[in-house]
Symmetry: C2
C-alpha cells in the first residue's frame, strides 16, 4: 500500500505518484505555437494543465495526497483551506475515492467557487477573511473529525503530485534546455524542480513570478525566506509566499527566479489567447512573459513552460 | 497536375484535395469534454479548427484553390474579396506558394485585419462599404492583372477544401450518429455534407444558424434560395447568405437546419470557453447551442461538431 511521503520526494516517489494518480488525472497535451516561437526567438513547449481535471495542475497533488491516505484516514476524511483550485481538487479527489472532504473557505470567497466546491460533494465550512481565521477553523475541523489536513503546497505528497506535470512534459518533449514554472506557494515549482533534476538533469530550472509578489525572488537571492508585502497582481494564483518545504527545494535546485511586470503578464496572456486559442489564467502567462523579457537567457533554446490552469472569467472584448 | 474542380466535388476530389493541402494545414485535434457531454446528454466530438493555420477552417479551402492553379494562373496571381478569415487564408496560401495575392477589402474593415492581411505579403486594395463596391473593384483587379478570383464559398475548390475538416473528424472519431456545422455562405456546410455523405453515409447531417440570419433555414424549408434580411447577430461569420452552389448541395444532403437565439449562442460560447478552456469565435458556438436546444434529436447520440475558428477579441471579465 502506498504510504505518505514525509521527506523530499525521490525520483521513485515521483514515479510512484504518477502511477497512483493515473485514473484521477488527464495526461494533458504539450502544445507548440509557431508564431509565439517567432516572437520569443525560442522553441516553446507548453504543458497544458489548463486542460487538466478541475482546470488546473492542482488536481495532481490533491489526487496524490488522497491516494496515500491509510484506510483509517480515509474513514475520517480529508480537509484543507483554500478558496481556489486546491479546494476543488481535494473535493473532486475525495468524491471519486469515496472520502468525506471538508473545505474551509473564507466567507468572502466568490459564491460561484463555494457552489463549485459543494458541487463535488464537499462539506464547505466558512471562516473569517484573515489567515488566522482559517487556521483556527481548520484546527477545529481536524479536532472534531480527525480528518487529514492536506496543505495546498507545504506537503510532500502534494509536491510529488505536482512534479508529475514536469515528468510528462519531459517525456513528451524533445530534450529541453530549460523548464520554467510560475511560483506562488512553490508547490508546482518544487515539483517541477525535482522532476527536472531527476529526469532531465541537463535542463536548467527557472522560476517566474510577478514583480508585485516577488517573495521567491527575494528569498532565492538573499538565501532567507521572505514574505510578500502586497498581493497587488492580476496573477491571483501567485499571491502566496513560499513555505519552509518549498523554499528548501527551490533554493537548492533553481538556476534563478525571474520577475515580470503586470503589463508584461497581460501581453503574454493575450499572446496565448490570440495565437494558441486556448484559455489560460493570468498566472500561466508569467513564465512566457519572463521568456519574452530575457532573450539573452532563452534565445535559440528549447524551453518547457508549464501552463498551470484555465480557471478565469473571460468576456468578449468591447469593440 | 491537379486541376480545378468544376462540378460538385466527388469523394475522389475530396481525398485528392486533402492530399494536396497537407503541407499548408494542421491536422487539428478532435476534443471531448465530459462536463459538456453531461449537460448536453450526448457525446460530443469537437473538431478544433480554431487551432487551424490562420485560426480558422478557411485555410483549407483557400489552400486547395491555390494548389489547383495552373502555372500560367500562378504567374498572374490570385484575388478575392473578404474582410475576414478567407482574406488571410488566401494571403497565407499565396505567400507559401510564391503567388501574388490581391485582396479587396472594404475601407471600413478593422485596421488590424488589413494589417494582418498585408502581413502575409498580400496587396490590399480598399473599396467602398457596399457589396457592389467590392464587386466592381474585384472586376477591375481581375481585368488589370488576370488574377484568378477565389470566391469565399461559391467555388467547388473551396468547398472540397472545407470538406477535409469533416473527413478528418470522421477518421478520428468513433462512428458518429450526427455531424453538425454552422451555416454562413455555406462553404463549410456544403463540404461537411459531402464528406459525411461519402465517408460516413449512416451519419445524419445537420446545419445550424442564428435565428437572426436564418436564410439557410428559410431556403431549406421553402426549397427556394432566400437571403438574410438583417445581419444582427454576434456570430459574425454567419451573416452571409447561401450561394447557388452551396444551396444546391445543402438542400440535397441535409437532414435539417436548426436555429438558435443570440442568448443561446452566448451560453454555448461561454460553456466552451469555461469547460474546454479553448478560445472559439461566436460562430462556432451555434452548433453546440443547437444540440443543447434539441435534446430530442441528439440525446444519447454521438455528435460531431465543427468548431470553425478562434479569431475573436476576448478580455478579462470585469469582476
Amino acid at each position: 500500500m502506498p504510504i505518505s511521503i514525509t521527506t523530499i520526494p525521490t525520483a521513485a516517489d515521483i514515479r510512484e505518484s504518477h502511477a497512483l494518480i493515473q485514473d484521477l488525472i488527464h495526461r494533458t497535451p504539450v502544445m507548440t505555437c509557431e508564431s509565439i516561437d517567432a516572437i520569443a526567438g525560442a522553441q516553446c513547449f507548453f504543458k497544458c494543465e489548463n486542460f487538466q481535471k478541475i482546470g488546473a495542475f492542482k488536481m495532481r497533488g490533491a489526487a496524490n495526497a488522497a491516494r496515500r491516505l491509510t484506510p483509517d484516514q480515509m474513514t475520517k476524511g480529508i480537509t484543507t483551506h483554500s478558496s481556489g483550485n486546491h479546494a476543488q481538487a481535494i473535493a473532486r479527489a475525495a468524491k471519486v475515492l469515496g472520502i468525506q472532504a471538508t473545505i474551509v473557505m473564507p466567507e468572502n470567497s466568490p459564491a460561484v467557487k463555494i457552489a463549485a466546491t459543494r458541487g463535488y460533494g464537499a462539506n464547505v465550512v466558512l471562516c473569517g477573511p484573515r489567515p488566522i481565521d482559517r487556521e483556527e477553523m481548520l484546527e477545529k475541523v481536524v479536532a472534531e473529525t480527525g480528518a487529514t489536513f492536506v496543505h495546498p503546497f507545504d506537503n510532500y505528497n502534494v509536491i510529488a503530485g505536482q512534479a508529475t506535470a514536469a515528468l510528462e512534459l519531459i517525456e513528451d518533449s524533445p530534450a529541453l534546455d530549460a523548464i520554467i514554472s510560475p511560483i506562488g506557494g512553490g508547490g508546482l515549482m518544487s515539483g517541477t524542480a525535482l522532476a527536472t533534476h531527476y529526469f532531465s538533469p541537463g535542463t536548467e530550472i527557472w522560476g517566474a513570478e510577478p514583480e508585485e509578489v516577488n517573495d521567491a525572488y527575494l528569498s532565492f537571492t538573499s538565501g532567507e525566506r521572505q514574505v510578500n508585502k502586497t498581493t497587488n497582481t492580476i496573477a491571483d494564483g501567485l499571491k502566496t509566499s513560499l513555505s519552509e518545504k518549498t523554499f528548501e527545494i527551490i533554493s537548492t535546485h533553481l538556476k534563478g527566479v525571474l520577475t515580470v511586470s503586470e503589463e508584461e503578464i497581460l501581453v503574454a496572456l493575450r499572446l496565448v489567447w490570440e495565437r494558441m486559442k486556448i484559455v489560460i489564467e493570468p498566472s500561466c502567462a508569467v513564465p512566457l512573459a519572463a521568456v519574452l523579457k530575457n532573450p539573452e537567457l532563452f534565445q535559440g533554446k528549447k524551453v518547457g513552460i508549464i501552463l498551470t490552469g484555465g480557471n478565469v472569467d473571460i468576456a468578449l472584448a468591447q469593440g
